[in-house]
Each structure stands twice: as structure tokens, then as C-alpha cells.
């Protein structure tokens, strides 16, 4: 994932330790850039589903 603020590329699954200590981390679904702290939403399930359908379609065509 590329941070929309500072352009840093990082692995969104490696959440900073501070997020694990936050009471809202269970329902938050935001991903924080470890470099600048900017938060952006993690990819939604719908978006992942649409991407996988598109991949499947282009795979079956190609």
C-alpha cells in the first residue's frame, strides 16, 4: 500500500503497535502509514470481490 500523503510504500498488514493498543482497533479498518501517521481505509471486501471477479473474467478471456 502506498501512503496517500507521503508516498511511502508499506505492508498494510504490519499495523503499528499503537493501533493494537487502541480501543477502537477492532472496528477501525483504517490503515496508518508508519512513516507519517496518515490514515486511510483498508481495502473493503466489496472492492476485493470486484477485483477478483475482474481478474477471473480477464483470465478466462485471456
Amino acid at each position: 500500500m502506498i501512503c496517500a500523503f507521503c508516498g511511502y510504500e508499506f505492508d498494510p498488514t504490519q499495523a503499528p503497535a499503537c493501533c493494537a493498543n487502541c480501543a477502537m482497533s477492532g472496528s477501525c479498518h483504517m490503515v496508518r502509514c508508519p512513516r507519517c501517521g496518515y490514515e486511510a481505509p483498508a481495502e473493503s471486501r466489496l472492492s476485493k470481490l470486484i477485483k477478483s471477479i475482474r481478474r477471473a473474467i480477464s483470465g478466462s478471456i485471456g
Binding site: 496517500a4 500523503f5 508516498g7 510504500e9 472496528s27 479498518h29 507519517c36 501517521g37 486511510a40 481505509p41
Partner: protein, 680 residues
């Protein structure tokens, strides 16, 4: 000179945190090549083709393992270069010798701990200016360096022509142009790796003051270090806590005088020495690029760069910001989202279909009136809670998040940070505070947590105060825009008053709270054309997150109000607020709005919308209510986050100030409007 005791304590605390962190992970010498071979350490930013180059050099036989004590993966392989066998280590992405993330810390530990090695620094040929400062740091560290200028094909496609020979001459280290995807330059690279063993004298980069500080620090260092003493001195001057720990361990009794020298240097400076060193290093890199990237290939101004420049220049940037606010917030969120969409959902969807059907169904199923009111009463779960969430808040935050995602995807926000950095410095913050402030327009609770990115406690407290006081969250902002947009003068006054409060309180807080002026610099990523897929995906993700967060709270609020009504507590609380509300010229039914506002800011704003829709407020009263509600105390969620982040004393002090201040401003605004006889 008497040194500040607080400074010493803070320094000690920082290094104690570093010591604890080191003890929980690999500490000391770290892994050396198990094979006993000389090690080639490959470093560079993410996305420069480092791993592709590693694969080209080593082939298929590699070992991936976690660096001891961490979850960071490190890849090792073997390469043969001109008959010389080496072990190659592909490190995680690293921007500079000053690490921020765990990956960068691991990469630096590898550099500090691996023995008999050569460093291959891989850079992106299109972005030499951004990457050469790190090359300089590696040379300053006294490490034998080979520079691979990778992705030459992309640079050539962009019209760039790099004089690699001149770059090599100026840097004093071997420079090889490569294309890792096709293998161009790999054989030359192997040869240069095999024949390079010695470090070089770094080019002169810094001014006399910095060089004097570095020389004095070098003279004090007596211990043995894997880096050059110059590099250690520079890292100490740049407040690197891990290096401070390393030096303290190495110097023993000598550390005292070194620490005193550092504290003396830090005290009383308008700008940190670390900032000065970074700036001078960047200037050197910019000047070197001008000499080595040839005129015919020099990147011409393109639209992205032009737009980037005008957005950051105050003369053009401020009008652009005002246009963004006008079209993005006022027209799209306020008029369209909070006006057209809300009106349709409220009046047609809920007014004509959902509410009447819900009332009929509930009254048919549930025989007890008291329970019926829980679902379809004045504050019922369906008639109020769900209606607020779906008909009122969702279209507002939806349009807000759409605007936000477009601006975010273009890369506008870091430029906004640069633009308002000067203004923010006057109120004790800097451009970095744009991050929590911008996020605060989405949700102040999250933004309060994000104040952690600010470097000093002073900045974090000031930012928390301003977020709680003068930054309305998206739903609150949208509703206020909706109710004030038919009264343009009232809207303009609201904006001016809130902005004035923001700046004035920020200025006062900066004067009252002791501390240094913060420095700010950041790498601004290129502007880009927003992509529809990205925008829709991020908008949907934000709306989904917001809805799932908001819905249970709104339903819960309906339940709590229902209980409050049955027990009489709700009415008693409203009666407490009524005299205060009447004091600022508002009708008593607005008291419930402020009570709602403490549960959720958006819930309070939604309540104000209902009162306005019922025709209960004049233009002047709308302005007073909007100003007071904007400045009013944070909602429960934000309050809880403030307690966690800032502690009980600071949080209670902030709330104790905001409560009377918000109503005080409302009183003053009402008094001035009445005295002036203005009709809005």
C-alpha cells in the same frame, strides 16, 4: 551555562525506550554471514528495483528468513563476481540512515553489524535528487559504496540523460547504470563490485558551523565504531536515539561530556541542527543533479510540477484553497449533499415511505405505547436514530468523503501542509499538523489519536485543543453548511468566527505553553491524476467504516434517550441546559441539540437540522447555534480518546476551558448581532 533539567530527563527517557526496544530484539553484533564470505549489503528506497537487481545478481538460490527478534524478512543469496564469491543481503526499503519504521531499523542494523562488506546502493534514475542524500550518508559512514543507477529505461523515456561518468567523478564512488528488468549493466556491476573495496573521502557538503560541530564531536569520540566517527557525529547531531545508546555503551565515562555538548547545541536554537544538516545535504544533492543530468534530458516542467508549484506558493495556493473549499465543501457537500440529497431522503424516502410504514407496523405488533415510543417515538430508533444515520448523515459524509478522496488521490494534501506550514508555525504547530487537522474533518476521534505523529508534547496538546474546539467533523460540517447555505452572510460569518477562534486560541496556547518552535520538512510525492477506481474504492471504504461505526451509536443514543425520558433524567438534563441556551438568544428546544452533541457531534448537528427544518430559528439564531455547536465540547468518543492520549488532567483542563468558552462566544455573537441590528 545551566542546562535544562527537563531536556536531560527527556533525553534519558528517549534512550531508555531505545534500550528496552533493543533488548527485546537483536542487540549487539547481529548475524554475520554464516558462510564466512564477504557480504554485499544491498540498500535503497522501496520501489527502485532493488529486489530485481538482487535476483539478477544471485540467481534462484536464496534464503528468506526473519531478522532475529523481528518479523522483518531478510533475503540472502550468493553471487560470484570476477571469481570473487560474496554473500548478498537484500535489505528492507530504507530512505536514509535515520530509521523510522521497524524495517528501516533492521536495514540499518544489518549495515552496522555485518562484517567485511560492500554496500550496493540502488537508486531510481528518475529521482536522483531525492535519493542521493542517502548515498552521501553511506559515503560519510566510511563504507565502501557502489551506486547502481537503476531503471535507466524509464529515465530515458522521461527524456532524462544522466552523465554517469561525471556522477562517479563527483561522488568518488563507482557508478553503474542498470536496468534490472532486462539485465542491462549487470555484468559491469558485477565487475565493479568485485574490484571495489575501499571507502572514499566524502565530498564537502556542510557549512562552517556544522563542520565545526562535527569536528568537535569527532574529537570527543574515543570508542570503536563500525561507521566512521564523522558519520557517528552527524547521527548524534541529528538526535538519533539508537546511535546515542550505542555511543553511550561504547564511550562509558566519556559519554557525560558528549551528552553535555549535545544538550548545549540543542538549547536556544530556532532550528534543530538535524534540520540544518538535512537541508544542506539536500541542497548538495540538488546541485549535483543539476550538473550531472544533462540539459537535453533535463526534465522539463510538466503539468504535474506546475500545478504542484502553484498549490504550494502562498500567492496562488491560497486562492486555490479557497476555490477547493468553495466548490468541494460548500457547493458539493453543503448544497448538493446536505441540501438536495438530504431533502430527498428525509422528505420522500423517510417522510413518505419508511416512517409511516414503520409506525404502522410497530403499532400493529407492539401493544404497549411506552415500547412503541422506543422504536417510532420522537426519539425512536427508526424515526430518529436510523433516520439520522441514513437520511441525514450518510449523504453528507458520502459527499464529503468523495471530495476528500479526490483531493487525497491527486496528492494535494502534502502541498496543503507546505502551504500552511508558516501559518501553523505561528500557532505552535507546523505543516505536519495538517495530517490530524485534515483527518479531523472526517472524524475528530481518529484525528486526536493521529496527533501522535507530532514530535513534541507541546504540539500534541495544542493540536488536541484545536481539534476539540474548532474542527467540525464531516457530518457536523455538512449539516452546518446545509442550514446556513440559504443565509450566505451567516455562513461567511460562521467561517470567519471559527477560523478566528482557531488562530487566536492557537496563538495564545503557543505563547502559554513552553517549548521550542517545531521544524518541518517532508518529501512531497509527485502530483498525480486521480483515478476513478481509487476514488470510488476509498469513498466506499470510508462510508462503510463510518456507517458501521455510526449506526450502533445512533441506535444506542435513541435507547438512552428513551430510558432518560421514562425516568425523567433526559428532561432534567435539558432543563439544566435551557437557561444557558436562552442566555445566548436561542429557544429552549435547542437545549436538546447540545445534549445530543455530547453523544456525537453529528447527532447534535442533526438535531439542529430538525429544529431548523421545523422553522424554529431565525438566520441570526442559526448563526449563534452553529458557532456555539462547532466550538462546543468534543463528543464522548473524542473525549475518551483525549483521556487516553493526553491524560486526565490535560483533557479535563481542555474541556473545562471549551465549555464556557463556546457559550461565551455564542453570547458575544448574539450580543453583537442584536446591538448592530443585523438580519441574516
Amino acid at each position: 551555562m545551566t542546562l535544562d533539567i527537563k531536556e536531560r530527563a527527556l533525553t534519558g527517557l528517549r534512550r531508555l525506550r531505545v534500550r528496552r526496544r533493543s533488548q527485546s530484539s537483536c542487540h549487539g553484533s547481529g548475524p554475520t554471514a554464516a558462510s564466512g564470505l564477504p557480504t554485499l549489503v544491498i540498500v535503497g528506497n522501496p520501489n527502485v528495483g532493488k529486489s530485481a537487481l538482487f535476483n539478477r545478481l544471485t540467481g534462484a538460490r536464496v534464503v528468506v528468513s526473519n531478522y532475529p527478534g523481528t518479523t522483518v524478512e531478510v533475503t540472502r543469496g550468493h553471487l560470484r563476481a570476477d571469481g570473487v564469491e560474496l554473500e548478498a543481503v537484500d535489505t528492507p526499503g530504507m530512505y536514509s540512515f535515520l530509521p523510522i519504521t521497524e524495517e528501516e531499523r533492521v536495514a540499518r542494523r544489518i549495515l552496522l553489524s555485518e562484517s567485511s562488506y560492500l554496500v550496493l546502493h540502488v537508486v531510481d534514475a528518475k529521482n536522483l535528487e531525492r535519493m542521493l542524500p542517502f548515498t552521501l550518508q553511506l559515503i560519510e559512514a566510511g563504507l565502501p559504496v557502489v551506486l547502481a543507477v537503476n531503471m535507466l529505461d524509464e529515465a530515458e523515456a522521461a527524456g532524462l540523460e544522466i552523465d554517469l561518468a561525471r556522477l562517479e567523478q563527483e561522488l568518488g564512488v563507482p557508478v553503474v547504470g542498470t536496468i534490472s528488468t532486462s539485465g542491462r549493466g549487470i555484468d559491469t556491476l558485477r565487475h565493479r563490485i568485485a574490484t571495489t573495496t575501499a571507502s572514499v573521502v566524502p565530498p564537502r557538503t556542510y557549512d562552517d558551523k556544522v563542520e565545526a560541530a562535527v569536528s568537535e564531536m569527532e574529537g570527543m569520540l574515543k570508542g570503536e565504531y563500525r561507521l566512521s566517527r564523522r558519520a557517528v557525529a552527524l547521527l548524534l547531531l541529528q538526535d538519533d536515539a539508537e546511535i546515542e545508546q550505542m555511543v553511550e555503551d561504547a564511550e562509558g565515562d566519556g559519554w557525560g561530556s558528549i551528552n553535555e555538548f549535545l544538550l548545549r547545541l540543542r538549547t536556544g536554537r530556532a532550528r534543530s541542527l538535524g534540520y540544518t544538516i538535512s537541508m544542506q545535504r539536500q541542497r548538495w544533492a540538488t546541485s549535483l543533479v543539476r550538473r550531472t543530468v544533462l540539459a537535453s534530458g533535463r526534465r522539463g516542467r510538466n503539468w504535474g510540477e506546475l500545478i504542484s508549484r502553484v498549490t504550494m506558493n502562498p500567492i496562488t495556493g491560497v486562492p486555490i484553497l479557497l476555490l477547493v473549499l468553495y466548490f468541494g465543501l460548500y457547493q458539493f457537500v453543503g448544497v448538493f449533499g446536505a441540501g438536495v440529497l438530504v431533502k430527498f431522503l428525509e422528505d420522500t424516502v423517510f417522510g413518505q415511505w419508511v416512517n409511516p410504514v414503520a409506525i404502522q407496523v410497530v403499532e400493529a405488533i407492539i401493544p404497549w405505547p411506552i415500547l412503541q415510543t422506543l422504536f417510532v417515538g420522537e426519539y425512536g430508533i427508526i424515526t430518529l436514530g436510523i433516520r439520522y444515520a441514513i437520511a441525514l448523515i450518510l449523504p453528507i459524509v458520502g459527499t464529503f468523503f468523495l471530495t476528500f478522496s479526490i483531493l487525497e488521490d491527486t496528492g494535494y494534501f502534502p502541498r496543503l501542509a507546505m502551504l500552511i506550514d508558516r501559518v501553523f508555525k505561528a500557532i505552535g504547530l507546523n505543516g505536519r499538523a495538517v495530517i490530524p487537522m485534515v483527518l479531523g474533518f472526517g472524524c475528530d476521534t481518529m484525528a486526536t489519536m493521529v496527533t501522535r505523529v507530532l514530535e513534541s508534547r507541546r504540539e500534541r496538546v495544542i493540536a488536541t485543543l484545536l481539534l476539540a474546539l474548532a474542527i467540525p467533523c464531516s457530518a457536523q460540517l455538512g449539516v452546518i453548511l446545509a442550514i446556513l447555505s440559504p443565509h450566505p452572510r451567516a455562513l461567511a460569518l460562521w467561517g470567519v468566527i471559527v477560523l478566528a477562534v482557531f488562530l487566536l486560541i492557537g496563538l495564545l496556547a503557543a505563547r502559554v505553553m513552553p517549548g521550542q518552535r517545531p521544524s518541518f520538512y517532508m518529501e512531497v510525492p509527485p502530483m498525480r491524476m486521480p483515478r476513478l477506481g481509487n476514488i470510488l474504492s476509498k469513498t466506499y471504504a470510508r462510508m462503510e467504516w463510518y456507517l458501521f461505526e455510526v449506526m450502533p451509536v445512533f441506535i444506542g443514543a435513541s435507547v438512552i434517550i428513551w430510558i432518560g425520558q421514562i425516568t425523567g433524567i433526559f428532561q432534567a438534563l435539558i432543563r439544566l441546559f435551557e437557561p444557558i441556551v436562552e442566555l445566548i438568544g436561542l429557544p429552549p428546544q435547542v437545549a436538546a441539540v447540545f445534549l445530543f452533541g455530547f453523544f456525537r457531534r453529528d447527532y447534535g448537528a442533526a438535531g439542529l437540522y430538525d429544529v431548523h427544518a421545523a422553522g424554529g430559528l431565525s438566520g441570526e439564531q442559526l448563526l449563534v447555534a452553529a458557532v456555539t455547536l462547532t466550538l462546543f465540547v468534543p463528543c464522548i468518543a473524542q473525549f475518551s480518546m483525549m483521556l487516553k492520549e493526553r491524560g486526565v488532567r490535560t483533557t479535563l483542563a481542555i474541556v473545562a476551558f471549551i465549555f464556557p468558552f463556546a457559550f461565551g462566544i455564542g453570547f458575544v455573537v448574539n450580543a453583537l448581532l442584536t446591538a448592530a441590528g443585523w438580519q441574516l
